[in-house]
C-alpha cells in the first residue's frame, strides 16, 4: 500500500513538471498554430537565471520573478527578431525558425552561463513530508500548485478576457481578426511573452527537483510536447491532464513492471490515444473549411 502511494506521489511530481512545460506550448499554438520548439529553452533560461541569481546571493523571492521576467524578455525578443519578420511565411517555416532559435539559445546559454549542472534549495526547504506511507518533497507541492495556477490563469485568460479572445481569434483567422479590429501583431507578441514566462516559471519551480543545465531543454520540451499531444494541442486542460497522465504512467511502469520500459510505455499510450483520438484527449476537433 505504501508502495502504491509512493508511486502515485512520484507520478504526480514528475507529471506536474511535464504539465507546466506543456502549458507553455499551448499559448503560442493558440495564437499562431506554431509549435514552439524553443519552449524547452525558456524552461532552462528560467532555471539557469534563478540559479545564477541565487548563487550570487539574491533572495529566492526576488530571483524567481526576475528569472520569469528574463524568460519573458527572451520570448519577446525571439518574436520580434525571428518570427515577426517572417510572419507571412508558411507555418512550417515558422516552426523551423523555432528549431533554429532553440539551437541558438542553447549556444548562447553556454556562453552567458556555463556548462555545469545547477540547483538551488527548495522554496520551503528540502525536508521530505510524510503523507500516508509515502514521502513528498515540499518543492513538489510548489510545482503541482504552480501548474494548477498556470492552468487556471490560462483557462480564464483565453476565454474570459478581451486580450485572450483576441489571441484565439488571431489563430483562427488572422485576416478576419484584423478586419474586426484586433491588433494581431500585439496578440502574437503577447502570446510569445506569456508562453516564455510560463516556460521560465516551470524552470524556476522544477530546478530544485530536476536540476538544470544548458542542454536539458530538448528533453524537457520532448516530454512536455508529448504531454501536449496526449492532452490535445491548444487546450490548457489537456496540457495539465496529459502531463499528469504521462508522469503517472511512467511511475507505475517503473514501480510495477520494469524501469526499463518506463519511457516506452508512456509513448505507447500516446500512440494509442493518437490513433483513436487524433485530436488528443481534450483537443477540439478542427474542421478545415475548403
Amino acid at each position: 500500500m505504501s508502495e502504491l502511494s509512493q508511486f502515485l506521489v512520484s507520478g504526480v511530481t514528475v507529471g506536474a513538471i511535464y504539465a507546466a512545460i506543456a502549458l507553455g506550448f499551448t499559448l503560442i499554438y493558440n495564437a499562431s498554430g506554431v509549435v514552439n520548439f524553443a519552449q524547452g529553452e525558456f524552461v532552462v533560461i528560467g532555471g539557469m537565471t534563478a540559479a545564477a541569481l541565487i548563487g550570487a546571493g539574491v533572495p529566492v523571492w526576488i530571483a524567481a520573478p526576475l528569472a520569469v521576467f528574463a524568460g519573458m524578455l527572451v520570448g519577446v525578443v525571439l518574436y520580434q527578431l525571428a518570427i515577426k519578420p517572417a510572419r507571412e511565411a508558411p507555418l512550417v517555416s515558422l516552426i523551423i525558425i523555432t528549431i533554429g532559435a532553440s539551437i541558438f539559445l542553447r549556444g548562447a546559454m553556454q556562453a552567458v552561463f556555463d556548462k555545469q549542472i545547477h540547483r538551488y534549495d527548495g522554496f520551503s526547504g528540502d525536508a521530505p513530508l510524510r503523507v500516508g506511507g509515502a514521502t513528498i518533497l515540499p518543492q513538489s507541492l510548489w510545482i503541482v500548485g504552480g501548474s494548477i495556477a498556470v492552468f487556471a490563469f490560462l483557462a480564464w485568460f483565453l476565454n474570459r478576457t478581451r486580450a485572450g479572445r483576441g489571441i484565439k481569434a488571431t489563430a483562427s483567422n488572422r485576416m478576419a481578426a484584423a478586419l474586426v479590429g484586433i491588433n494581431t501583431g500585439r496578440a502574437m507578441n503577447l502570446s510569445f511573452a506569456l508562453s516564455a514566462a510560463i516556460g521560465a516559471l516551470a524552470g524556476v519551480l522544477a530546478t530544485p527537483v530536476t536540476f538544470t543545465s544548458y542542454d536539458v531543454g530538448v528533453l524537457m520540451a520532448l516530454k512536455g510536447f508529448s504531454a501536449t499531444m496526449l492532452g490535445g494541442v491548444g487546450s490548457p486542460l489537456g496540457a495539465l491532464a496529459g502531463g499528469l497522465l504521462i508522469g503517472l504512467i511512467e511511475a507505475m511502469t517503473a514501480g510495477y513492471i520494469s524501469s526499463d520500459y518506463k519511457d516506452a510505455s508512456a509513448f505507447v499510450v500516446i500512440l494509442l490515444v493518437l490513433f483513436l483520438r487524433p485530436q488528443g484527449l481534450f483537443g477540439a476537433r478542427i474542421t478545415e473549411r475548403v
Binding site: 508502495e3 509512493q6 508511486f7 506521489v9 512520484s10 511530481t13 514528475v14 513538471i17 556548462k115 555545469q116 549542472i117 540547483r119 534549495d121 528540502d126 521530505p128 514521502t135 518533497l137 522544477a206 527537483v209 530536476t210 536540476f211 543545465s213 542542454d215 536539458v216 528533453l219 524537457m220 511511475a251 507505475m252 517503473a254 514501480g255 524501469s259 526499463d260 518506463k262 519511457d263
Partner: protein
C-alpha cells in the same frame, strides 16, 4: 577547429630569434573541448596546455621545445578520426593524447597501428586496452575496476546482497554490465537491478522497489551527470538506511553541492585528487596531486577535475618516455612507454607491460566517504 600553438612556446621562440631555432617535439591531441563531453575535454585541454607551457619554461624535453597541437573533436568519432589523420600526416606529431570519449578513441585507434605512432587515450572503457593494441595506452581506470573496488568494500563490511540502480546512458550502462560480470567473482549477489533515464527527475519508484527487495544489504548507483544526484536525494527522501555507493563518475565537489546533505554517509571509489591534504606523507601520489592542484588553480582559478587528471598523467607518461627513449622516434617512444615502471601520477601509480597498457591496479582507487559535505578516506 582549434589549432592552438602554445603561447609561451611562440613568445619564447620570438625572443630567441637570431639564435639558432630550437628543434621541436610535436605532440598532438584530439579532445572533446566542446559538445556533449565538454566536461571531459575542457579540463583535459586546459591541463595539457598548462603542462606544455610549464615544460617549455623549464627547458623542454632533453633541451627541445614541445609544440602541443590540440584539435576539438566534440566527441564525434568521425571528426576524431579526421583529426588523428591530420595530426599524423600533416602535423607530423611523435605521439597523440586524446579521445576524451571511448567512441572517439576507438575510431582513432586503428590509425596508430598503421602509422606506428604511440597513442594515450583518456577514455574509460575496458575495450581500449583489452585486447591490448601495440600502440594504444590509456590512463583512466576502468569501470570494471570501480565495480571490483566497491564490491570489495561491501564484502569487507560483511555484506553480499546488492541492489543496482543504473543510468541508461553510456557510462551507467557499461558500468552496470561490468558490475554484473564481476559480481560473482567478487562474492556479491545482485538481488535487484533497476534503471533510470539520464534526464529523469524522480527515481523514488525504483528505489522503493530496491529497498523492499528481500534480504538486500547495500545499493550501488552506476551513473553519471545529474542522475546520481537525483537518486541520492530520493534515497534520503525515502529515508532508506542501507549503505549506499556511488561510482567514480560523480567523484567531484560538484556532486556534493548538487546532492547536498543527502550525500552524507555515502561511499564511492575515487582518485586521490579529491583528498590532497589527507594523503599520507609517504604516499607516492601526494606530490603529483598537490603539484597539479596548485598549478591548475594558479593557471585557471578553479579546482582541477578527475578528468583533467587523466590528461596530466598522460602528458607526464609521455614526457617521461621521450626522456628515457632519448629520441623522438615514435617507435622508440612507444617502447619506452611500455617499459614505464612505477610512475606516480594523480590517478594512480603506472607500471605498463606488454600485457597491460593501463598499468593501474585497484590501489589507484581509494574508497571515500562523504562526511559533513567533505571527502574522508575509508581505512582499508
Amino acid at each position: 577547429m582549434t589549432r592552438q600553438a602554445v603561447a609561451a612556446g611562440v613568445s619564447a621562440l620570438a625572443l630567441l630569434a637570431g639564435t639558432p631555432a630550437l628543434a621541436e617535439i610535436r605532440i598532438g591531441a584530439s579532445l572533446a573541448i566542446t559538445g556533449p563531453a565538454a566536461f571531459l575535454g575542457d579540463p583535459e585541454a586546459k591541463t595539457l596546455e598548462m603542462l606544455a607551457e610549464e615544460l617549455n619554461a623549464n627547458g623542454g624535453i632533453n633541451g627541445e621545445e614541445v609544440e602541443l597541437i590540440v584539435y576539438d573533436d566534440g566527441a564525434d568519432p568521425n571528426k576524431a578520426r579526421t583529426f588523428a589523420t591530420r595530426l599524423i600526416e600533416e602535423d607530423e606529431v611523435v605521439a597523440v593524447i586524446g579521445g576524451s570519449s571511448t567512441g572517439a578513441t576507438m575510431a582513432m585507434a586503428p590509425l596508430f597501428a598503421d602509422y606506428e605512432i604511440p597513442f594515450i587515450s583518456l577514455a574509460g572503457a575496458v575495450v581500449i586496452i583489452d585486447p591490448v593494441q601495440e600502440f594504444v595506452f590509456k590512463t583512466p581506470h576502468t569501470d570494471r575496476m570501480a565495480c571490483e573496488k566497491i564490491f570489495a568494500d561491501i564484502t569487507s563490511r560483511g555484506m553480499s546482497k546488492v541492489g543496482l540502480i543504473s543510468g541508461t546512458g553510456g557510462f551507467g550502462a557499461s558500468m552496470r554490465e561490468q558490475c554484473l560480470d564481476v559480481a560473482e567473482a567478487s562474492g556479491v549477489e545482485i538481488v535487484a537491478d533497476e534503471s533510470y533515464g539520464g534526464s529523469d527527475s524522480d527515481m523514488t519508484p525504483q528505489l522503493t522497489n530496491i529497498a523492499s527487495t528481500e534480504g538486500i544489504e547495500a545499493i550501488v548507483n552506476p551513473g553519471f551527470g545529474q542522475g546520481p544526484a537525483v537518486v541520492t536525494r530520493n534515497y534520503a527522501q525515502l529515508g532508506i538506511e542501507l549503505p549506499f555507493y556511488q561510482s567514480h563518475g560523480v567523484a567531484s565537489d560538484e556532486f556534493i553541492k548538487l546532492a547536498g546533505d543527502a550525500a552524507n554517509g555515502l561511499r564511492l571509489p575515487a582518485t586521490p585528487l579529491l583528498i590532497p591534504d589527507q594523503l599520507a606523507e609517504d604516499d607516492p601520489q601526494r606530490q603529483p596531486v598537490q603539484d597539479y592542484i596548485a598549478a591548475y588553480e594558479e593557471a585557471y582559478g578553479e579546482k582541477p577535475s578527475t578528468f583533467g587528471g587523466y590528461a596530466y598523467d598522460a602528458f607526464h607518461l609521455l614526457v617521461d618516455a621521450i626522456e628515457r627513449a632519448g629520441s623522438t622516434d615514435p617507435v622508440e617512444i612507444r617502447d619506452a612507454l611500455e617499459a614505464t615502471e612505477g610512475l606516480a601520477g594523480v590517478t594512480g601509480v603506472y607500471s605498463f607491460s606488454p600485457e597491460d597498457h593501463m598499468g593501474l591496479d585497484l590501489s589507484a582507487f581509494r574508497i571515500l566517504e562523504i562526511e559533513d559535505g567533505g571527502w574522508k578516506p575509508v581505512e582499508e
